[in-house]
Symmetry: C2
DNA sequence: ACCTGAACACCGTTCAAGT
DNA sequence: ACCTGAACACCGTTCAAGT
């Protein structure tokens, strides 16, 4: 948090450039050097700020990923039923928004490592709370795990990367099994 | 089918080398040049025989993919119930066997193009037959499509690429919804 | 006809040189 | 401290030269 203005400005520029490029061509297809060029810095600067692509991705999707945890708390308060489906819809929508995120998210959620890993952990905790409540109400099968729920939701999100179709139908089928 | 011995031998060597390398490091991580080197030929020879990686992949997984169609017919004859789940298990097992196949399979099954595409079409026809019979028996929800079934099965198979866990639980949850 | 392998373009990643 | 950008390794892909 030292090196004043230019470092901070470069970092912000990099995240912004990454967000744009990821949105345009997908997180997997985006070249790191292109991110740097778009941000107007050298490749070295990019690597200094973010040691790998996942770190950059984590920064780009970070806030909205945190938003999922907040959404869970809110749904528990306001939505007496159907909150689990609502939340999974939101999760899938979020993953789908960044093409190429599904694979990284799955890896991070599974191993829990890396900068995305810690964010995923928060998401999983939120899922666990929702799931527990849903199971109390009989709205979800009792043997389902939060990790499994996220795995399945991520898989469905991945589906629509190749499919171009909306994942609603997939989720319908999935939830008939979950409840 | 002209150019005699060496061409045929090279082709066979390439497929064999690809099968080995795909099994070792995954179809996505395997470098085309490495396949050529392992086969003892130049890169150009590889590209002459297979215009892209998908063509090579199609050749490697071809027979077992065709085997799925045969299995469907056999299950319809011998297995009075539970044949749909049996077949989907086999499909998932097959995709899981080659790490990196899931993504290619999904693309091919969706768009129907390329050398994998035609194989996938045969698989989908087999799935449609099984599904129709299962729906008659009330073992599958009536609004489910063969394409959707394959999409879901492929998604589950993809799950276990990152997870290292077996996909049985995922399929259990899925089928509770399907039936 | 078919094969070879050098060559090009591209991308991830590093690092010596600058300020 | 931080940035720059040349440089290296690697991989997909092509193609002129060979047989």
């Amino acid at each position: 948090m030292t090196g004043r203005t230019d470092a901070r400005r470069n970092r912000a520029r990099l995240v912004e450039a990454a967000r744009e490029l990821f949105a345009e061509v997908g997180a997997d297809a985006a070249a790191m050097n292109d991110v740097a060029r778009r941000a107007g810095v050298g490749p070295g600067t990019l690597w200094r700020h973010f040691p790998n692509k996942e770190a950059l991705l984590a920064e780009v999707v970070g806030q909205s990923l945190d938003g999922l945890a907040e959404l869970a708390a809110e749904l528990l308060r306001t939505e007496p039923e159907g909150f689990l489906r609502r939340w999974v819809d939101a999760l899938v929508a979020h993953i789908t928004r960044n093409r190429g995120l599904a694979a990284s998210f799955m890896r991070a959620a599974e191993h829990g490592e890396g900068p995305l890993g810690t964010r995923c952990h928060a998401v999983e905790l939120a899922a666990a709370e929702l799931l527990a409540r849903a199971q109390e109400l009989g709205e979800a099968r009792a043997d389902l795990t939060a990790a499994e729920l996220i795995r399945l939701a991520t898989a469905v999100a991945w589906t629509s990367e190749a499919t171009e179709g909306d994942p609603v139908r997939m989720l319908d089928v999935l939830f008939e099994g979950i409840l």
